[in-house]
């Protein structure tokens, strides 16, 4: 079944550490205007897109990498990264026979059976998948089924070609290239990603999913995702990611933008399982991502759910701008760090419209020598009357070498706002473990039970199959961290 894609991806210990021996079409290392022109040309882009990139690049050059996050790492050398890597042959794939067999093998290892996807096409599968490997989108499934309903689900590159008016209108409208260092970098060098448009009044009949994979060595992955839900539209979107085990740190700097129109709703779920580095903190992905949605019009809703277990360093804050009146923003997060992983993650809820509501549930779990920070901002603008926010930030510590930190910021400019914040820090109790053991449950299973119980509110927000596998993933990520 199609949901195995994400299911398989997150079970077992890090088993996605393999490298596929596919010939890749690479750009030379380094970053300058020529590289950007190279990427744009490779992608056969219109002039306006190239201009956008170059503007972003100029701006990026004026910026310095920020270091306010509670993480420390060796700064990437931006001239030592390959900004474009495409699995060869780079042709339009009309049938499976044209796909590189090595590539197909990779998908099988990842649990993505395109064969099966094709067979099931339009029958009963509930997930449509776009797969982005290194820099390009290699396959999008179920396109035809979706297009019958007017839904556009394709690679970003394709959207630039086929739906330039939509891309022009919305790209950068939520995360402008001036937003931050990595957003500017992404805007200059992004290579692909997913694009999704749900037309007026359409409820997307299946889960849409993008699967990201970094394969080639020395490459960075810079993808963009843009999701637009028009009036009364609904979509549930899943994102999964893996990478090979490498000694080097690889950079992943993505931008995700979501726009909801009147009465529309977007649910965005992520299970982030990038390679976290080895037990000594060597290697692993730097995950510096800007994710933001805007409830542009009244009564719309954006909900972020994330389960973060991978990456050496994670730095991201899926946020919602609540512009429309009565709009709703939600953020449900489980972030697990083990060994030497570092995560600084949280959200921003910007209340601009009247009667806007936001909910933040964050569950941090730290083990080993890791550091896990929650950073959140709730801003109620002047005139955003009757805004409500509820935040709950819980931290769970396992062992005594790890750290949990909470940085909540609240800015209220309207007197009618009601903002609640709750926070707890606890240790996984020896008493709880012993209680489980005295009932015949061993240490690993007990930790799995306790941790999943602790994260229940968040896991409940994930689509069913996803949730089951996320539970397994949590247990696996924490294996051997207590007792």
């Amino acid at each position: 079944m199609a949901n195995e894609i994400l299911a398989e991806q997150i079970s077992g210990e890090y088993k996605y550490g393999f490298v596929t021996d596919i010939e890749a079409d690479n750009a030379p290392k380094g970053l300058n205007e020529d590289i950007i022109r190279f990427i744009s040309k490779k992608k056969n882009e219109p002039e306006w897109m190239l201009e956008y990139r170059l503007k972003a690049f100029k701006y990026w050059q004026t910026l310095e990498e920020p270091h306010w996050a509670h993480v420390s790492y060796t700064k990437p050398n931006f001239q030592d990264i390959i900004y474009y890597s495409a699995p060869k042959p780079k042709v339009q794939l009309n049938s499976l026979d044209e796909v590189d067999p090595e590539l197909l093998k990779t998908f099988e290892k990842l649990g993505i059976s395109i064969e099966e996807q094709k067979r099931l096409s339009g029958v009963e599968s509930r997930i449509a998948v776009d797969i982005v490997m290194d820099s390009v989108s290699v396959k999008t499934t179920f396109k035809e089924t979706l297009s019958e309903k007017g839904i556009i689900f394709c690679s970003f590159g394709e959207a630039v070609q086929e739906h330039p008016e939509l891309v022009k209108k919305y790209m950068g409208s939520v995360v402008p290239y001036t937003d931050n260092f990595y957003a500017a970098l992404n805007s200059a060098v992004f290579t692909d990603g997913s694009f999704c448009y749900i037309p007026k009044g359409v409820r997307c009949p299946m889960e849409l999913s993008t699967y990201f994979r970094i394969n080639a060595s020395g490459t960075g992955q810079f993808e963009r995702t843009l999701i637009i839900a028009d009036e009364d539209a609904y979509v549930s979107y899943l994102e999964g990611c893996t990478a090979p085990m490498r000694d080097e740190n690889q950079l992943h700097a993505a931008v995700v933008e979501i726009v909801t129109h009147k009465n529309a709703e977007v649910k965005y779920s992520t299970v982030q399982n990038w390679y976290p580095g080895d037990k000594n903190g060597k290697g692993g992905i730097f995950n510096f991502v800007t994710k933001r949605g805007i409830c542009l019009e009244d009564n719309s809703k954006i909900s972020w759910t994330q389960v973060e277990t991978g990456s050496a360093v994670t730095w991201k804050y899926p946020s919602v701008i609540l512009k429309g009146d009565n709009s709703v923003g939600e953020f449900y997060s489980v972030a697990v760090t083990n060994n030497y992983q570092q995560a600084d993650t949280g959200t921003k809820m910007m209340h601009l419209g009247k009667n806007t509501r936001s909910t933040i549930i964050s569950k941090g779990i730290s083990a080993g020598f890791s550091n896990n920070s929650y950073r959140g901002l709730v801003r109620i603008a002047k005139g955003a009357s009757n805004a409500r926010n509820f935040s709950q930030c819980d931290s769970l510590l396992m062992g005594d070498k790890c750290g949990a930190h909470t940085f909540p910021y609240i800015e209220i400019k309207d007197k009618s706002a009601i903002v609640e914040h709750e926070a707890t820090t606890s240790k996984i109790g020896e008493d709880q473990l012993f209680y489980c053991k005295s009932r015949g449950i061993d240490n690993e299973k007990a930790i799995g039970l306790i941790v999943n119980g602790y994260c229940k509110e968040v896991l409940n927000k994930l689509p069913m199959e996803f949730a089951v596998e996320a539970q397994k993933l949590l247990a696996v990520s924490l294996e051997g961290s207590v007792g």
């Binding site: 489980c436 306790i450 999943n452 994260c455």
Partner: protein, 261 residues
Amino acid sequence: MPYCLSGKISEMLVIKNLHASIDGKEILRGINLEVKAGEIHAIMGPNGSGKSTLSAVLAGKADYEITEGSVTFNGKDLLELSPEDRAREGVFLAFQYPVEIPGVSNINFLKTAINEIRAYKGQTPMEAKDFLALVKEKQKLVELDGKLANRSVNEGFSGGEKKRNEIFQMAMLEPKLAILDETDSGLDIDALRIVAGGVNKLKSKDNATIVITHYQRLLDYIVPDVVHILYKGKIVKSGPKELALELEEKGYDFIKEEVGA
């Protein structure tokens, strides 16, 4: 692991000269105790005599160091087994202070436990419908509200509900040896009756129960075959159920005098 009961072992539990200490302080100072299948033993004693230590040591709590002595359970060296393997072999401890596990439903917890125990015995996981039938049946035994079974383990339970939940778990796991550690503490008379009723219904010729208590009260409901008096880490006196009454009447001082402490 082969599951062999030779049939020749009449004692289920044999404790010989058991010494245990915590942080260098000796708490158990040579316990000797034999329990046969079908029996109920009561262990009474004043505060600090080592009652809870004994139950924790039998269940395998890591904080204690066994300095001397042995414990065999159905012919196996119990002290060699991990806490979870002891449970899988059929030892059950009803906690004096049951632990809360937020977000984990009682049902899920018990299902995991039962299936772990079954896996240890080489059995397949229990079918969902059999499991639910079992829950229904055993809930009645301790008059446990169906809602409690679906709530998180002990979270927000009243003192009485927690204790009933312990007996419910015991009923579900069907242990060979149940150790009730001050299960009567904090119970009102109705809850006491229900908990004791549950224990009595679970009694069979194949299982045994050790009731650890401070007061004689519980023994009005759960009638022991033998009463032991624990004092300063040793069993100083054993006798029939009347011993509990004598103790109640005279107080623990008479023991102190008797053992010349």
